[in-house]
Assembly symmetry: D2
Homo-oligomer: 355 residues x 4
Amino acid sequence: MNQTVQTAVVGVTGYAGAELARLLLHHPRLQSTPPVFAGRVDEKDAARGGVPLTEIHPQLAGSHGASELKQEPFSWKLLAERGVKVLFLATPHEMSREGTPEALALGIRVIDLSAAWRLTDAENRAVYAFVDEGSSVAAAVQEKAVYGMPELHRTEIAGADLVANPGCYATSIILALKPLIAAGVVNVSHGIVADSKSGVSGAGKAATAKTHFMYAADNLSAYAVFAHRHTGELLEQIGLTREEITFTPHLLPIPRGILSTIYVQFNEAQTRESVIRVYEEFFAESPIVRLYEKGLPQIQYSVRTNFADIGFEIDASGERAVIVSCLDNLLKGASGQAVQNLNVMMGWPESEGLV
Amino acid sequence: MNQTVQTAVVGVTGYAGAELARLLLHHPRLQSTPPVFAGRVDEKDAARGGVPLTEIHPQLAGSHGASELKQEPFSWKLLAERGVKVLFLATPHEMSREGTPEALALGIRVIDLSAAWRLTDAENRAVYAFVDEGSSVAAAVQEKAVYGMPELHRTEIAGADLVANPGCYATSIILALKPLIAAGVVNVSHGIVADSKSGVSGAGKAATAKTHFMYAADNLSAYAVFAHRHTGELLEQIGLTREEITFTPHLLPIPRGILSTIYVQFNEAQTRESVIRVYEEFFAESPIVRLYEKGLPQIQYSVRTNFADIGFEIDASGERAVIVSCLDNLLKGASGQAVQNLNVMMGWPESEGLV
Amino acid sequence: MNQTVQTAVVGVTGYAGAELARLLLHHPRLQSTPPVFAGRVDEKDAARGGVPLTEIHPQLAGSHGASELKQEPFSWKLLAERGVKVLFLATPHEMSREGTPEALALGIRVIDLSAAWRLTDAENRAVYAFVDEGSSVAAAVQEKAVYGMPELHRTEIAGADLVANPGCYATSIILALKPLIAAGVVNVSHGIVADSKSGVSGAGKAATAKTHFMYAADNLSAYAVFAHRHTGELLEQIGLTREEITFTPHLLPIPRGILSTIYVQFNEAQTRESVIRVYEEFFAESPIVRLYEKGLPQIQYSVRTNFADIGFEIDASGERAVIVSCLDNLLKGASGQAVQNLNVMMGWPESEGLV
Amino acid sequence: MNQTVQTAVVGVTGYAGAELARLLLHHPRLQSTPPVFAGRVDEKDAARGGVPLTEIHPQLAGSHGASELKQEPFSWKLLAERGVKVLFLATPHEMSREGTPEALALGIRVIDLSAAWRLTDAENRAVYAFVDEGSSVAAAVQEKAVYGMPELHRTEIAGADLVANPGCYATSIILALKPLIAAGVVNVSHGIVADSKSGVSGAGKAATAKTHFMYAADNLSAYAVFAHRHTGELLEQIGLTREEITFTPHLLPIPRGILSTIYVQFNEAQTRESVIRVYEEFFAESPIVRLYEKGLPQIQYSVRTNFADIGFEIDASGERAVIVSCLDNLLKGASGQAVQNLNVMMGWPESEGLV
C-alpha cells in the first residue's frame, strides 16, 4: 500500500472541481503531494505559469498551501513530468471521452466525473451522442470502466484503471433501491416512482436562462420527464427495464443537495425491522451510508457532508414504502465519491479524508 | 343579484388573512363595503377601537382605505350591527367548529378556511379529533357544508350557507386528478402517487422549530408520510380508497407556492390530445384553471396569482403520465379560492377581483 | 382629459417589461386599449404574427386578454397604424438613444425606462459612453427630457414629451434625501453615506456569472464602489457634489426589492417630529410615498407594491440620523414609476392602477 | 506544551454549539479526548445517560465517534470526574455569569461565547442588565477576563483563565478598523459608519416572529439602530466614543455570514499600497485573517470557513475608503474563534484544526 500518490485534476474551475480541490488539499495522505491542477489557460495566464487556484476559488485561500497552487496549462507532458498516477477528470463528457484513452496509455489511472464511461449499454449511452461512439478505441476503454460506487463495486474499483464516477441523481436512487431489490423485497413489475429534487449546482456553472437566480429562486420546476440522462444508470446498476421506473427530476431553489422520494410496492408485507435488516446487511462495510433507524433524512443534514442518508416509512399494511434518500450532489454525488474511489483504489480506508 | 355585500373576516392576522384582506379590499364589488375585521384584541388595543390593520400588515397601507380599518374586538353583536351577511373564518379548526353554528343561526353565511367542515366521513375527520365530534349540532352543521371547490361543486356552492374552503395540497391534487378519474381514464386500482412540495407559509404563522428560517432555508424535508391530514379530502372528493393513493408532502425553502407531481397509470394508452380533451371538457366553465397545452407549470408562474396551473407528460407507450399541478397555497390554496366561493355564492362572475 | 390612451411597449421580454405589461393590462383606463407590444421577433415567429405574450410571461395568462396579445415585429409603421400616443421603452440604453428621436418626430410621447436621457450633465453621462454623445439631435432630445420622478417634477412631467424614468437605486435614495436637503436640515458638507442593497432582478435578465443562482444565493457582495452609474442621478437631482456622497450598492440574495440605509449629519439637532414634518410637507401630494411615523420599513412590506417607504431613527443627541428607504426595484424603481408618470402625463389620478 | 486537553461544552444544542462540536471532534489534538457535552437534560433522557449528540445534530453522525457521544446532565462533579481543564460556555449571558466563577474556582479555564465578560466598562455592560452587576465576585471575575480576539490580545489570551469570546458583528468591524486606527490613518473625529448585514443564525435558535422563515426570507431589515449591544465592544476594543461610530445591523435572508461595509475618512490621502502595508503589518502573525490585495471579499467566500476576510476601495482623492469585512458568524464570529482561543491558550499553532 502506497502511503501517498500524485494526483492531478483537470476541470477545477467548476463546482465539483472546487470541492475536489478542497477534499484533496485536506486529505491526510496527500499533504506532501498536492494535486497538479491543469486545464485550458489563456496566453496571458500561461505567461505567469497558470491561474492561481485562489483566484478561481477565493474560499480556498489560506489553508494547505492553496495559495501557492495554480491551474497550469494542460499537457500530457506536464502530467508525466510531475509523476501523476491518478487523474481526476472533472470535464465535459466529450472531453473525458477524448482524454481517457490517452491517460490510460500513459499508465495513469483515471477517475472520471463525467458520464463518459458510466454506461455499458450502447442504447443507454445514445442520449449522450458521443462522437467516438462505435470506435474500437472507445469500446476497449469502456470495457475497462468500473462504475464508481464503492457500495456496489468495491472490489472491482480497487483494481480498476478507469473508474466512472456516478451521476448525482443516480447515486441517491441506486443506494436507496439496490439493497431492497437485490434482496427480492420489491415488486419491481408493479413499477417504481423516483421523485428527485436537486439544488442548482447540479446544473453546472454555465450561466443559462435556467441557472439565472430569477428563474431558480423561489421556484420549483420538474424537467426532463421520462427523459433524464441518469435513467440509464438506474437501469444498468439496479437492473430495471425502462418501464419499471418513472424518474422525475426537479430543480430546487437551493445551492446544494439532493432529496429523492422513492415509492415502492413490496412483494409481501414488511416491517420496519425487516427492511432495516436488509439495508444493514447490504451496507455493512459502507462507512459513507448513514441509515436512519427512525425519522427521515433531510437535505440540511447531509449537505456539505460526504454521506448518503437513507430512511423510509412503511404504510399500515406493510405493503407500500416511501424511501427518502439525501446527499450533497457535489460530494457523495460527485467529488466526495471520487475521493472515496481514490481511497478504494489506493487501498486506504474508504472514508479517509471524508468524515 | 346583489351588487355588493357586507363581509367580515375573523383571523386577519395570519398569512391567509393578509391575502384575504388584500383581495377583499381590492374587490370591485366591495369598494363601498369594506370587510369588518374582528378577532381577539387585548384590552389596551380595545380601548383604541382595535388594532389598525396596517399595524398588522404594513404592506396594505396606502390603498383602498386600509389605513382607516381596524381589527375590532370580536362579538356577534358587532357583526349584527354592521349587517354582516358573509363571514370568512380564517381561524383554527376548533374555533371554526365553535363559531359556525352560531353564525348560521344568525343567518350569516360562512366561508370557513379551516378544515372544520371539509370532511363528511367521520373516519376521515378523526385525525382532527374535534371536541364536538358526535354532537347533533355539529352533525347538523356538517350536513349543510359544501366543499368549496367551484370547479367541482359550483351549483351547490351558489346556494350554500356554509362553504368549507379546501386545503391547499388537496386543491392542487384534486384539480389534477378529478377530471381524469371522472372520465375513467386512470387505472385507479394500480395506485396513484402524489408527491407534493409546499412553501413555508403553508405551515402557518406560529414560530416553531420547523418554521425557523434555519430549519427551512436551504433544506427540503418530507413529512407526515402516509399520515397527512389532507388525505381525507382526496379520498372524499376524488373517490379513492386509502390504498389507492400515496400522498407525500414536502417542505420547500420558499415562502409560497405548491407543486404536486402526480404519477398515474392509464387504463389504456392515451395521447396528449386525448388527455387535453378530458381536461378541457371538465374545466370548460372554470376561469381559474390554466391548462398547459405544452410544457409544464412551475411555481414561479402561478405564485402570487389566483390560478391553478395543470400540465402533464405521457411516456412513449402512452400508458403512464406525470401530471404537474401548481398554485399559490395562500391564494387558490386558501384566500383566492375563498373569494372565488364568495363570487359564486353572490352570483357574481366567478373570477371577479381575482384575475 | 382623455379617458384612455393607446400605449405601446418595446422591451416586454425583460423583468421590468413583465411588470409593465401586468400594470398596463390591469390599468382601469386601458381596459379597452391594451398596449401594443413590439420588439425584435425572429422570422418564424413573425410568420405567426409575433410571439404570444403568455409564452414570454406565462404568469400573465388567463387575465385581461393577455392570452390574445403578441409581441409583434417592431416598426414605426406598426405604431402609427395602431395610433400609439405613448411609447414605453424598456430597452437597453443605446436602443433608447436611437429610438427616442424618431418617436418624438412622429408625435409619440416617450417614457424611457433606460438611463438614456436621465442626466443633463455630459460629465455624468460619460459613464454610459453613448455613441451619439455630442450630436445635435441628441442634445435637442436631451433638452426635452424630464426626470420622471413625480414627487419632484410633477408639473414638468404633466407636459413632457419625453420622460426619463429614474434608476431604482437613485429613486430609493433621492426620495429619502431630497426633502431633508431641500429643507436645509442636513449638513451636506460633512458627507452622506448611502449603503444600498438590491435584489437580483436589478441586474437584468442576461445570464451572467453574477446572476447565476450559485453566485447570488446565500451571498452578499458590494460592487461598483465609488463608481456606480446611478451616482449621477443623485448629484443632479439632490444637488450634491461627488465628494458629498458615498454610495455603495450591494447584491442581495433575493429576487426583488431595494433597501437603502442612509447616514446623515444634521446642521442642528432635530426631533422625530421635526423630521416627520419636513417629509410630510414635501410629500403632501404624493400618494406613492409611505412615511413610517415609527419603526422602519423593510423590504418585505414594499416589495410587490408600487410604494416607496421611508422611515428613520435619530440618535440621542439629535444630530445624526439613519434613514431607511425601501421599494420594489421593478415597480417604484422602474415600471410602477413609469405608469405613475403615464398617469401624470394624462392628467389621471397619480396612483390610478397602482394601489 | 500539552499534546491534548480535556474540554467540555455546555450549550451544544444551539447553532454555535453545533459548530463547536464539529470543530472539536475534528481537531487533530483532541482525537483521543473528545469533549464532554453537558447541559440541561430532562428526566427521561437522563435515565439513558443523556441525549445522543447525533439526535441533536444529525449532520454529525458517522464521523469521529460522534455517534457514541451524549449531552449528559450537567454537574460540576461530572466535569471534575472527567478531568475537564477547559470549559466552553455556549450558554445565555446570565448562565455564563453564573457558571464562570464556579468553574474558575475549580481550576477550570473558561472560554465563554456569551457577552457575559466581554465589556470592562460598567456603562457598556448596562445594556445586558446582569443580575450580579456590582457584586464583588463578578468584579473579580471580570478582572480576569481577556477579550478573546487573538489578533489583538494573543499574549494575554495565552495565559488567561477566562477568555471572553467576541461578538460576531464586533469581530467583523474591529478587525477591519483596529489596524487603521491604531496606525493613526483614520480621521476618527469625522465619524465612522459601520453598516453590517448578518445571516439569521446570528439571531439564535429560539423560534420567534423574527426568525420565522416568512419574516426573514426574501427580506432585509435594519434593527437596533443606534442601540445594538455589540457597540460597547467596538468602543472598548477600537477605542472610540459613542459619537464616533454609527453601527447599523441588518438581518440578511441567508443562514450564515456577516458582511460589514465600513466608511472612513482618512487624515491624509492614502494609496492602496499604503493601506495594504498597514494591514499586513498588523496581521503579520495572524493566520486567520485573509487580506484582499485587490477586489472585495464576499460572504460566499468566507462562509463555512474560519477566516475573516478584509478588502477595501479608496476614492479618487485618496481621502475616503470603503472597507468590506466578511466572516462566518458561527465560525470566526463564534465557535471558530473559540477554538482559535483554545489553540492560543494551549500553545498550539493558532490555526490548528481551523484551516
